[in-house]
């Protein structure tokens, strides 16, 4: 009986330890590092598996870091397309997003709105609208599925 009790306590502690693991995605510095790294890679025309995976786990929590990085530098049309790609990558696979709250694209839509207001190029505006519409329809589909 005593053995069973001890084993149960050890098992319970293991479960608690596992469930309390600190996720890298919750570390603001890690998020910032991930976004800056991805920004440079995408600007160079590359897409690494690591940035794809990490951004896909961040979902909407990537947007404030993207916004912060975008605001820290002058924006060219080329630079506007890069954050668009990062937003796409952040919602590439909603199942991988670690926190359910980050499946709602609130910050991402605000970022797209900001990018739209800071570009005059009609082609870029059209691409921003396309990503924005895609996020909205993806979100409403997710919400409908959640209700069913």
């Amino acid at each position: 009986m005593k053995t069973i009790a001890v084993a149960s306590v050890i098992a319970l502690c293991s479960v608690i330890a596992v469930s309390q693991r600190k996720l890298a995605e919750d570390d603001p510095q890690w998020r910032q590092q991930t976004v800056v790294r991805a920004f440079h890679e995408v600007s160079d025309g590359l897409s690494t598996s690591w940035s794809e995976k990490y951004l896909a786990r961040l979902g909407d929590s990537a947007a404030p870091e993207i916004m912060s990085y975008v605001r820290s530098r002058p924006l060219s049309n080329h630079d506007t397309l890069t954050p668009l790609s990062l937003v796409r990558m952040s919602f590439a696979n909603p199942n991988l997003i670690r926190h359910a709250s980050n499946r709602t694209p609130t910050n991402s839509l605000a970022l797209l709105d900001y990018l739209d207001k800071h570009t005059e190029d009609s082609n870029t505006k059209s691409k921003i609208k396309s990503v924005s519409d895609g996020l909205r329809s993806q979100f409403s589909a997710t919400r409908s599925n959640g209700k069913n």
Binding site: S14, A17, R21, A24, D27, W30, G45, S49, Y54, L96
Partner: protein
């Protein structure tokens, strides 16, 4: 270890505690363009692979446990979980101590050569960390649908 009770000491018994020490490569496969984790048709230069590993102890024997979380630091960045990913559904190893790092690689819309990515890997076991491997990958994409990745030893894949 021995036990003393009532003034009497038992025979000693030696215990072997398995510690994650290295990762062995079980298989390497190319992830097809358009498949989950693969390059896309828009960015089809380069390669994405699925590398399946087994965690080994100090003696090179497999550690059969699902309580290990593989983590990586790429180019000296902060550590993050390898899973969940295109194959792993959780952050943890399978019950036989294996896990799939997938995808691994680089894709692009145009040719590129000799991109270097250094991946340090460790195992998180209930908050204890054990360094098990470092891969220095060289990745190239010569033309659409083609690419290569190599760590110079046990991971060499082309398509």
């Amino acid at each position: 270890m021995s036990v003393t009770s009532g003034g009497q000491t038992s025979n000693s018994k030696t215990f072997f505690v398995q510690v994650p020490t290295s990762l062995g490569v079980l298989s390497v496969s190319t992830i097809a363009t358009g498949a989950n984790g693969g390059c896309t048709t828009a960015q089809n230069y380069g390669i994405h692979i699925d590398a399946r590993y087994r965690v080994k102890d100090q003696n090179g024997s497999a550690i059969q446990s699902a309580a290990m979380a593989p983590q990586e630091s790429v180019n000296n960045s902060a550590w993050g979980d390898i899973g969940p990913n295109a194959v792993m559904t959780t952050a943890f190893t399978n019950s036989d101590g294996t896990h799939d790092d997938a995808p691994v690689g680089v894709c692009s819309a145009s040719s590129f050569s000799n991109v270097i990515e250094t991946q340090a890997v460790r195992m998180d076991v209930n908050g204890g960390y054990y360094n098990v491997r470092t891969n220095s990958f060289t990745i190239s994409g010569s033309s659409s649908g083609h690419g290569s990745i190599s760590n110079g030893s046990d991971i060499v894949q082309t398509r």
